[in-house]
Amino acid sequence: MTDLAESNGSTPEPAVSALFELLEGFVMDLRAAGLPVSLSENIDAASAVRHIPLEDRSAFKYALAATLVKNQAHWRTFETLFEVYFSLRGSEYALDGDGNDPFGDADLDDENQPPGEGGEGQGGGEGLTPEELAEMLFQALMKGDDPLVRAISKQAVKRYAGMEPGRPVGGTYYLYRTLRNLDLDGLLERLMEQAKENADGGLSPLEERLERDEFDDRIEKLKKEIEAEIRRRLVADRGAEAMAKTLRKPLPEDVDFMHASREEMANLRRAIYPLTRKLAVRLARKRRHGRKGPLDFRNTVRHSLSYGGVPAELKFRYPRPSKPEIIVIADISGSVAAFARFTLHLVYAISGQFSKVRAFVFIDGLDEVTHLFEGCDDIAEAVHRVNTEADVVWVDGHSDYGHAFEVFWDKYGHEVNSKSTVLVLGDARNNYHAAQAWIMKEIEQKSRKLFWLNPEPKAYWNTGDSIVGEYGVHCDGVFEVRNLRQLEKFVDNLA
């Protein structure tokens, strides 16, 4: 990176070269987190920061974002890493108190201090009792006083997080400790009470709703402040590279369905809608392109007029290939439920690309849920109803693939025909029941294609009570589908 600075025609000052070094580490970590940063983008970032006044932290951040992050889904990863690399790390954040800052020589430390820190900042809240601090926080949230909230969150972290240098605990632990002491739920309740008192004649439901959203927003900001504060202290203690490593979280499309946390689930749900739209467009295009329909005689003759009656330009009709019919058979027992939900959601969201979609769910009994999706605008709602309304328990509510397939074959087997593509979703953990793998063989013979999607990592297949291999031999394909990226890829190839 220092070479770069020289090639731009000026000798780098020490500060600038330190910056470039930092930038290089930052880019390395972005790449390690899965962002595809190319060499030319790296160079762009380096030249972009030369045009930006370095003391303007926000401009600096957006300069890096504009040149390095080309996908909105990667923004959060970028932001977290940016905070780690380029945040405030003066010696006051050091945990051991003697100002031993590992990055003391870098010139970035003392950029801008947050506004409003002067009055309430570091030492300001030391003498307060916990009750006074809580009261102050309440007032600050009530008024939406951001600088004060920031100062209090600093104080809260200092007081409650119990951070010690070199302690091998993650940031979430400290966050949990701090939040537990602040009792945010109780705080929200108090804020709402206060708002009601303040309003003459009470709040209408709408107003109450708006007030609550406002306070939710403020509390959310408070949480972010606390998180940032903890991160800053951790960076000061451990150094940016080590921190970046511990903070590395998978991108939304790489989150494992089976082990997603609640927050990751929410992110996944948000990610699925744009994904379905993309898929639908892509599939529709694929259908029209690549193949040509029959010759369009009229159109050809019409165009021949510009060539003096010579049909130099042949015109073809739009091809109308038949759409496949999809039958989804999904295991919705505990461990794989999330995966089944996402796949059903995805398949129904692009159901326009298929001539018909039928959905069956099972645990040890099997039930058809197609009707829940029909005439229902809201797929998320329908997926939710699947979980509550479908009658899928036969004996004990433990997965029994063999029995479920038997029921399917008896009741609906005759409806599988040469146009149907059958998708089976599940981990094939059969609790040592009879496999009934012959049904898979029958279905395979009758259907157009039979695919098995397994949300488990491939290494676990056929271990313990997993018998995916027994079913798999009869399928046209068995795929590991652990995250959105793999699901998208599979569906893309389906139509």
Binding site: P36, S38, S40, E41, D44, S47, A48, H51, I52, P53, D56, S58, A59, Y62, A63, A65, A66, T67, V69, K70, N71, Q72, W75, D185, L188, E189, E193, K196, G202, S204, P205, L206, E208, R209, L210, R212, D213, E214, D217, R269, P274, R277, K278, V281, R282, R285, H289, S306, D377, D378, A380
Partner: protein, 297 residues
């Protein structure tokens, strides 16, 4: 090369003077695009002011806006240039037998017979232009390649004429609704700007700027309601332009304080799906989100 903008602040001020409220990201990226001479790829949900940004930048710098609307099936002859072959044919026919073929060939492949399409027009223009390539995600991946030479070198190669260099470097904006992933090659050449729904404060400011007769109180209420609506899981969240439409509607109806009834009666301005409207009406009238029992008041 002279720079268009002095500083990030100047961009923000300039955009404000043409009624476009830019946040840090917008102003910063526009400033960089000018300094680095790179196109900006603007991505985000519909109705967040992507196209408007290009128009406002054009208005603010006093440049001409050249717009290329992308669609499926867009090709070279619609985007870059085309030979006016009917005119070429006439030219050939109007010649007697004595002229030699070489001359005619040189002649019919000259500027006179070249039909300029938006991209070529943008780089050949003498006066400053802003080029807007709208909804670039609508063209096929292969067609994107047409843009690459222009975006990185600001030139167009025409086999018969040679390479045409830009007379001036235009500001280039590409917009995308993200219906598909754009190619790496295209993204690499651009600065990236994601325009999301604005923060509540900014949305309020936007409403205040765009709807002249509105009171601060009403704008505040509108922004807060819209923020709450966007937090629900909807098929299509209200866009900024829909917020503005809604504000105008409320003004026309003479409403100064929005009640639940007003909100639900006019929800069809903000939301375009029946299921979304039903959801919002349900949410707002019953206050089911409450975590605890509200004390009887």
């Amino acid at each position: 090369m002279e720079h268009r903008f002095e500083s990030v602040e100047a961009v923000r001020e300039g955009l404000k003077s043409v009624n476009y409220l830019a946040d840090d990201a917008i102003a910063g990226t526009a400033f960089l695009a000018d300094r680095l001479q790179k196109p900006i790829l603007v991505e985000g949900p519909a109705g967040t002011g992507k196209t408007q940004l290009a128009q406002s930048v054009a208005e603010m710098t006093g440049a001409r806006l050249i717009r290329l609307q992308c669609y499926e099936g867009l090709d070279e002859s619609k985007a870059l240039y085309e030979w006016n072959y009917k005119k070429q044919l006439l030219r050939i026919q109007s010649e007697g037998d004595e002229t030699n073929w070489e001359d005619i060939q040189d002649d019919i492949f000259s500027n006179e017979f070249l039909l300029e399409r938006p991209l070529l027009e943008a780089i050949r223009s003498e006066d400053p232009v802003v080029l807007l390539i709208d909804e670039v995600d609508r063209v096929e991946v292969e067609t994107e390649a047409l843009l690459l030479e222009l975006l990185s070198e600001y030139q167009v190669s025409i086999p018969e004429l040679g390479t045409l260099k830009a007379n001036q470097i235009p500001m280039v904006f590409l917009t995308s609704n993200n219906t598909r992933e754009l190619s790496e090659a295209l993204k690499r050449r651009c600065l990236f700007l994601h325009l999301d729904y604005p923060e509540m404060e900014r949305e309020k400011e936007i409403v205040l700027t765009k709807v002249p007769d509105i009171t601060v109180n009403l704008a505040d209420q509108i922004a807060r309601i819209v923020r709450s609506i966007r937090q629900l899981e909807l098929k299509k969240a209200p866009s900024v332009s829909e917020t503005i439409d809604w504000a105008r509607t409320l003004i026309l109806l003479g409403i100064e304080q929005i009640s639940e009834k007003d909100a639900t009666d006019t929800a069809n301005i903000l939301l375009k799906y029946r299921s979304d409207i039903e959801k919002v009406v349900k949410e707002f009238s019953s206050n089911t989100k409450a975590h605890f029992e509200a004390p009887a008041s």
